[in-house]
């Protein structure tokens, strides 16, 4: 496992506010790390320090083993970065902008041309090559920012909310692009969209108030969810009491919650005592009492809930 991105004890304060308070992380080749957290948690600040844009108060960051503050030029050649909002020079055409980036990256002549062609193809920019960037749609602007970052095929990619504000098709396209590139790169993407973590990330780091509060695969995070493995069911309203009684007395059920009452039905949720309860067992309990069930499914737990649970502990375990 080759570690390509390493941050050690990053701290940054802005006046009285501790924006980043001791973040350390490692990302290996082949990993896509999702940076999760509410707005203002310190995601962008951390990325700015890892890319060497912002000097930390203490701590260090290394890209492919090169310290970004000791040898900034060497380190900066090894990553591509999409800053928040994917800024680019709006008065230029897509082609001119990418040429500029390619030149700065040290490409000339035929190589410059082939690099641009490849980035354009990967980001799907052919239709807007000769348009002024300011006149492009938000989706295309994002992709210009993305093309700029992958132009030199860097071993490390760092993207700050790459899909923010895109429509579902565009999001899908960007995620596909990230997945395609994932195998031979180390990638960090920040997001507050949780499906994104499930869709593309091999690992997720949740940060809140400048600190890492959780680190694991998307699946790990789901496991930690209160309702993971709970069974939700829908019964007709007048049999609800009977259903609750039957389920509460079943051995594998810890407790039963009522969730809602849509259209003369009652939505119930059976919380398991252990993580091994199956929907078949629940169905069997109800069938024994002759209670008809309209719907029955196992909750996977929603990442949104995990997110709230981790980042807003003061809300407790109330219904999410």
């Amino acid at each position: 496992m080759t570690v390509l991105i390493e941050a050690v004890g990053l701290h940054k304060r802005f006046g009285e506010i501790k924006a980043v308070d001791g973040i350390s992380l490692k990302v290996a080749k082949g990993e896509v790390l999702g940076f999760l957290g509410p707005n203002g948690a310190g995601k962008s600040t951390t990325m700015k320090m890892i890319t060497g844009f912002l000097e930390p108060d203490s701590g260090k960051a290394e890209i492919c083993g090169t310290d970004v503050f000791q040898e900034p030029k060497t380190a900066k050649a090894k990553f591509g970065y999409v800053p928040e909002g994917a800024p680019s020079y709006g008065e230029m055409t897509t082609r001119a902008f990418l040429s500029f980036i390619a030149e700065i990256r040290g490409f000339r002549g035929a190589e410059l041309k082939s690099r641009i062609d490849r980035a354009v193809e990967r980001a799907g920019l052919q239709p807007v090559l000769d348009q002024i960037i300011d006149t492009l749609s938000k989706g295309y602007k994002r992709r210009v920012g993305l093309a700029q970052a992958i132009l030199h095929d860097p071993p490390v990619l760092i993207m700050d909310e790459p899909t923010d504000g895109l429509d579902p098709n565009q999001k899908h396209h960007v995620r596909e692009l990230i997945t395609d590139m994932a195998a031979d790169k180390a990638i960090i993407i920040s997001t507050h969209i949780l499906q994104e973590v499930e869709a593309v990330c091999s690992r997720a780091v949740v940060i809140n108030k400048g600190m890492i509060v959780d680190d694991g695969t998307a699946e790990d995070l789901l496991q930690r969810m209160h309702y993971h493995g709970a069974v939700s069911l829908k019964v007709v309203a007048d049999r609800a009491d009977a259903a609750i009684r039957a389920l509460s007395s079943a051995a594998m059920v810890a407790r039963v919650e009522t969730v809602g009452k849509p259209n003369g039905h009652m939505l119930l949720r059976a919380i398991p005592r252990e993580k091994t309860m199956t929907s078949a067992e629940i169905a069997a309990v109800l069938r024994a009492q002759n209670i008809p069930v309209d719907e029955l499914y196992v909750e996977r737990g929603r990442l949104d809930d995990v997110f709230r649970q981790i980042t807003m502990p003061e809300e407790g375990s109330g219904n999410a």
């Binding site: 844009f53 912002l54 900034p72 030029k73 970065y81 928040e84 800024p87 709006g90 230029m92 500029f100």
Partner: protein, 248 residues
């Protein structure tokens, strides 16, 4: 070192292209040429003087630069900061100095172009009489140097704000102080309550004092050193300011 110039050149090319992406550049050039003409012929009384030189043309350059150079300089960094492209620029494999140098050189070249476009005045004076073209050439060179010093101040001020209007006003103000500091008006009030060393030090920082010699065709070593060290000083101030301010 070669690499530094390469990168600065790539940045400068991009900047220059950006100037001409909008009609603003052409408006600026037109205004510059029109104003130099108007000042020379009407205010400077070029014809009435009856002398074959360009003294009335060059004499107004400091005052013209006071408004026009900060207008060129204001966008250098304020715009990068406002649009967020500074984050892109500063995470590319270049040093801040290369970026600053590139942008400065582009703006300087642009003002150089504006100066070159005033050539009809030079043709006019050559048609009307036989001026000392050596003096005129020296004055052009000196004027260009002075523009560079104004521009370096503007570049520094532009890093301090995201607002181009504020950058413009503050840069004009600082340039104004540097221009005025040699005038009797300022000098007399300084001499009244400061030691002579101080007032002459302030006077020696005056663009006007140095430029008056240039307008007469004298470009001597102290003047050269003065303008070059002004440029170097303010560009380094820009490097420091960028380092401090880029992420805010």
């Amino acid at each position: 070192m070669r690499n530094t110039w390469d990168n600065a050149w790539i940045i400068a090319k991009r900047e220059l292209r950006a100037y001409f992406a909008t009609p603003l550049a052409l408006v600026f050039l037109t205004v510059f040429v029109a104003l130099t003409g108007a000042l020379t012929f009407y205010v400077g009384q070029f014809f009435q003087r009856g002398q074959a030189d360009l003294f009335p043309f060059f004499a107004y350059h400091p005052w013209l630069y006071l408004l026009l150079v900060p207008a060129v300089a204001m966008r250098l960094w304020a715009e990068e900061r406002k649009s967020g492209t500074i984050e892109l620029l500063m995470t590319l494999p270049i040093t801040p100095f290369e970026a600053i140098l590139g942008k400065f050189l582009a703006a300087w070249a642009f003002i150089g172009l504006a100066l070159i476009l005033t050539f009809p005045i030079w043709i006019t004076v050559n048609l009307l009489g036989s001026p000392d073209n050596g003096v005129i050439f020296t004055s052009y060179l000196g004027s260009f140097l002075m523009a560079g010093a104004f521009l370096a101040i503007g570049s520094f001020v532009s890093t301090l704000t995201k607002n181009q209007v504020i950058a413009f006003i503050v840069a004009s103000l600082i340039c104004f102080l540097f221009t005025m500091s040699g005038l009797d008006l300022v000098q007399n009030s300084l001499r009244a309550w400061t030691p002579a060393v101080f007032s002459s030090a302030v006077s020696s920082l005056s663009f006007l004092t140095h430029f008056q010699r240039i307008a007469q065709g004298v470009l001597d070593l102290p003047t050269l050193i003065f303008f070059f060290s002004m440029i170097v000083f303010w560009l380094f101030a820009t490097v420091i300011a960028i380092d401090q301010k880029k992420a805010q």
